[in-house]
């Protein structure tokens, strides 16, 4: 494997891991994954049960 191929493989792996983690977190409700700085969802946790 050439040096170029190693760098390219590393960048692609990092991108795939980043996207996978982001979507997993969004679906698991840990964050919305929108990355919005002003978005209220970034600062709030899922609603708690009041009962």
């Amino acid at each position: 494997m050439t040096g170029q191929a190693i760098i390219v493989a590393a960048i692609i792996s990092a991108a795939v891991i980043y996207l996978g983690r982001r979507w997993y977190r969004a679906l698991a409700g840990k964050s919305t994954g929108c990355g919005c700085s002003e978005c209220p969802s970034k600062h709030s946790s899922p609603k708690k049960s009041h009962s």
Binding site: A15, A26, G35, C36, S41, S44
Partner: protein, 730 residues
């Protein structure tokens, strides 16, 4: 230990502006009721001590009918999970409308907490010649009353001192509140005792103030919540209610008691002019809330916004585009030829750079939305829309979340927490993603500026601006029948009446406006640098590999043949360029991306798309603006970018179908835009719908119905416009 003070007030009394002034935190403020949906905490420093301020959702009353109103009650009762019990209350009231604001204060008095009252908008009260005797008010209310103007920061230091003093002293100055009929007081005490006896069944103690609200608020949030764990509570409370309200409604008994108390206080401490003068706000409202005049002004304002997006952003976009192009050339020249150069230039710079070009348009759109919000116009727009929304079973209350969705569906969906009626709330959540968010803007403007002529129509309107306006309207026009159908079928039910307070018009605060614009611009750049960057890399990989050697060898042989044929000069360069393009195209068709794309081509064919557009649309389901990055990458890798194509826009004009015809024309561009206007291509939005509805069914339904409508509408637009001959317009 830090003291904690809850900041409470009616919607739109300047609570968030005051919170920012006291804590120095950057929170957004809006001019329509209900903007503060979430809990915000900030530290206020005074005399070397730190006091935590909790900014609670705006509410007119503690008769909780929605989740955010319930949070206010829970914080006051010290039973909100994750929240410290509060030491004092800071009530923010509008000095120009004391009667209405004191209703909430009368309820706060009953929580036995030290209270400070910030008399906001005193400057406006002075202008209207309303004289308020703060000393008398303070005595009558049993609370510290401080005159302030949150916008100009007048009185803020004095207020800080008062908060610190009251929080430290923990004095309630005795109970100064309304008097109720004896039978009500008696039944509340009896209910509290009975609920205490059933504590084990209920699962927790019910404090007196909660028992009081439970008895008064028929079908209220407290009752519904208790009934979830202990269904018998409804029957139990109803028996108590019947004993109290045999002579009238409970709400009327409460209102009468409170307003008797309020009138006494206002009579003692407030002097108003004999006749109410018609204010400037009243005069402006005469036009802006007029059925016909208001609608005309609304359409004109929107038209100006969309015209400005095209007219003002152009030069800056060209500059960014040229800078990104030069940067790509510079980087490309320094990297050795091969897959790394292709990844950086075609994938990353071609993809991310293509999206960043649209930053000026996002900034202009957000600037207008923030200005209109901050000056108070948006509440008028909600008022105008109430009639329209009531026809499809919703109310003006749904307009505010829908309006927020024009910036981003996520805060819009979260703003539905202010809607008390569950069916209305879910309906609004389901149609909110149909509003054109800022992520759709780059898709619209790329295709409009490329294919729609910049002609002037009706003497002053730009055709491109009109098409953009039509795309934004498409979401609203589809949302209306969708909401109507939902309210007649899955979410059938009555809609409670909508009460909206129209705030006084104000000169926008540039600090607040610019902060919002900065936040949105930053988000766009951050998304380009994170999600879009990552997707561009993945798309590039799928479109580059397996990069078969057999294809490379075949075209190397062709190149050798041309070079040996004796052709020279420009002719040779052109022939070699054709071979390069053919090779890129062959690699792309053979890539993983190409193979999937060719398999799905029959499905997207009726929309006028080829497999490349189909794949770009599919790649955009996680985040819609990815389509630009994907098209940039596909056409770079496919050899469609020639030396004259300085930008993606120019490439779109020249790119060809397999049969040699032009891939893009007006019907194709319209079909793509309509698809993007109506399709739910945002994973984050679906995740928030799941969270807010606590169900996987609603996001699945949203995705299914929006994608189906988008496909059908897009196909209709293409098939109709192609038959009208628009495909031949150059």
């Amino acid at each position: 230990m830090h003291k904690t003070v809850a900041v409470i007030g009616n919607p739109n009394v300047g609570k968030t502006t005051l919170f920012n002034a006291l804590t120095g935190l950057s929170n957004s403020t809006g001019n329509y009721p209900g903007v503060t949906v979430d809990r915000k905490v900030g530290a206020m420093r005074v005399n070397g001590a730190t006091i935590d301020l909790v900014d609670l959702p705006g509410t007119y009353s503690l008769a909780a009918r929605s989740p955010d109103e319930m949070i206010v009650v829970d914080v006051l009762l010290g039973q909100q999970a994750g929240e410290q019990p509060i030491d004092a209350i800071l009530a923010v009231v509008d000095a120009t409308n004391l009667e209405r604001n004191l209703y909430l204060v009368s309820q706060l008095r009953e929580f036995n907490k030290p209270l400070v009252i910030a008399l906001n908008m005193c400057d406006l009260a002075d202008k209207r010649e309303i004289k308020i005797d703060t000393e008398t008010l303070s005595k009558e209310l049993g609370a510290e009353v401080v005159r302030i103007c949150a916008r100009s920061r007048a009185g803020i230091d004095e207020l800080r001192g008062a908060i610190a003093e009251v929080a430290e002293s923990a004095s309630t100055n005795g109970i100064h509140g309304p008097s109720y009929p004896e039978e009500l007081t008696r039944e509340v005490a009896a209910l509290e005792t009975e609920l205490g006896a059933r504590r084990d069944k209920i699962g927790r103690a019910v404090p007196k103030q909660e028992a009081f609200r439970l008895l008064l608020d028929r079908d209220g949030y407290i009752e519904k919540r208790l009934a979830r764990g202990y269904p018998e509570v409804t029957q139990l409370v109803e028996a108590y209610r019947n004993r109290v309200a045999h002579n009238g409604s409970l709400a009327a008994i409460e209102a009468k008691s409170r307003y008797t108390w309020i009138r006494k206080i206002v009579a003692a401490g407030v002097r108003k002019p004999a006749t109410r003068t018609r204010t400037t706000s009243d005069k402006i409202d005469g036009v802006l809330t007029h059925k016909l005049g208001g609608t005309v002004v609304f359409i004109l304002i929107m038209a100006v916004v969309f015209q400005a997006i095209f007219s003002w952003a152009g030069p800056l976009m060209d500059l960014i585009d040229a800078s990104i192009g030069s940067f790509g050339d510079w980087i490309g020249g320094r990297l050795p030829e091969g897959m790394l150069q292709s990844l950086v230039v075609d994938g990353i710079i071609g993809g991310v750079g293509g999206v960043l070009v649209f930053l000026p348009q996002i900034v202009i759109l957000m600037l207008f939305i923030s200005l209109l919000e901050d000056c108070g116009y948006m509440a008028r727009a909600a008022f105008l829309m109430d009639k329209l929304l009531s026809r499809c079973g919703l109310s003006g209350q749904s307009f505010i979340p829908m309006l927020s969705s024009f910036a981003c569906a996520i805060p819009g969906i979260m703003a539905t927490r202010t809607i008390g009626n569950r069916r209305d709330r879910i309906t609004t959540i389901l149609v909110a993603p149909l509003m054109s968010c800022s992520a759709r803007l780059p898709v619209y403007t790329l295709l409009i500026s490329t294919f729609i002529p910049a002609k002037t129509v009706l003497g002053f309107l730009n055709l491109q601006g009109i098409v953009l306006f039509a795309m934004y309207s498409a979401g609203i026009l589809v949302a209306i029948p969708v909401a109507w159908i939902l309210k007649k079928t899955l979410l059938k039910g009555d809609t409670p009446p909508f009460l909206l307070e129209l705030p006084t018009y104000k000169v926008p605060q540039w600090g607040v406006v610019l902060r919002k614009v900065y936040g949105q611009g930053k988000e766009f750049v951050v998304r380009a640098g994170t999600i879009i960057f990552a997707v561009a890399v993945v798309v590039w990989a799928l479109a580059y590999f397996p990069h078969a050697d057999s294809i490379t060898q075949k075209f190397d042989a062709e190149r050798a043949q041309i070079e040996q044929s004796g052709v020279q000069g420009d002719e040779l360069a052109a022939a070699l360029q054709d071979v390069d393009n053919a090779e890129s195209s062959a690699h792309l068709r053979n890539s993983y991306f190409g193979r999937i794309g060719i398999a799905i081509e029959p499905a997207v064919g009726p929309l006028g798309w080829d497999w490349r557009i189909g794949m770009a649309a599919i790649a955009s389901f996680p985040a819609r603006e990815v389509i630009i990055a994907t098209l940039g990458t596909i056409f770079s890798l496919g050899g469609d970018v020639d030396e004259e194509s300085e930008s993606l826009k120019e490439t779109l004009h020249t790119v060809q179908r397999a049969d040699g015809g032009r891939l893009f024309n007006i019907p194709v561009a319209l079909s793509i835009m309509v698809f993007f206007a109506l399709c739910c291509q945002c994973a984050a939005t679906l995740a928030v719908i799941k969270r807010e509805t606590n169900s996987y069914a609603w996001p699945a339904f949203t995705f299914a119905y929006m994608t189906t409508i988008a496909y059908i509408a897009s196909m209709l637009v293409y098939q109709i416009t192609i038959r009208l001959g628009w495909g031949n317009i150059a």
